[in-house]
Subunit: 114 residues, 2 copies
């Protein structure tokens, strides 16, 4: 689990609020992309359903190899949606609520302009 520069969850200018410029789009799209895979969506939901979750609990929920699960967790982490750390033998991941809120706000009708 190397150190990874993660995407800033600094989401401005909502989708329903207004236009998104090229730079913002490049920053935000990877977050949606990360949620755009069924396995990762379920992983994120599982992780969000608890304050934190061990990889050893996550993996058996899928009929996929451990390396594939690890790969998906990395993508969710690089997207800034989750974070994690090793504690002894096991690795735990938790959701980053700010990122979720930011995306949620982005999709909301008219948060500020109303």
């Amino acid at each position: 689990m190397k150190e990874l520069p993660t995407i800033q969850a600094n989401v401005c200018c909502g989708l329903a609020t207004g236009v998104i410029d090229e730079t913002d789009a490049a920053r935000i799209a990877p977050m949606f992309k990360a949620l755009g895979d069924p396995v990762r969506l379920r992983l994120a939901a599982l992780i969000a359903s608890q304050t934190e979750m061990c990889v050893c609990e996550l993996t058996p929920q899928f009929e996929l190899s451990g390396s594939t699960i690890s790969h998906h967790l990395r993508i969710l982490r690089e997207a800034g949606l989750i974070d994690g750390e090793r504690r002894g033998t096991w690795v735990y991941y938790w959701i980053k609520p700010d990122a979720l809120h930011a995306l949620s706000a982005l999709l909301q009708p008219t948060p500020a302009t109303a």
Copy 2:
């Protein structure tokens, strides 16, 4: 512009609310996936910024071929995020607010369980 069966925007069991089963994940993930490309994210935001928008207005906003824009619009439409119709020479697209709301709710902390 052929007829296309679009995805049901019937989003239940939020990501922050609880677990998402395999079937729901398969139904919802394509929506996030559609927003997971910078060009499509900007397209969606542009379309959402007006009640409707002509392809002829959309295309010049990007340094991409018309066929590429058309391709991305199709993906957004198949994901159920936008809809459109031809009126004479031009084709207009509009956002489907319900789909956006559904995704937004999915990402919200605790919509109902709070």
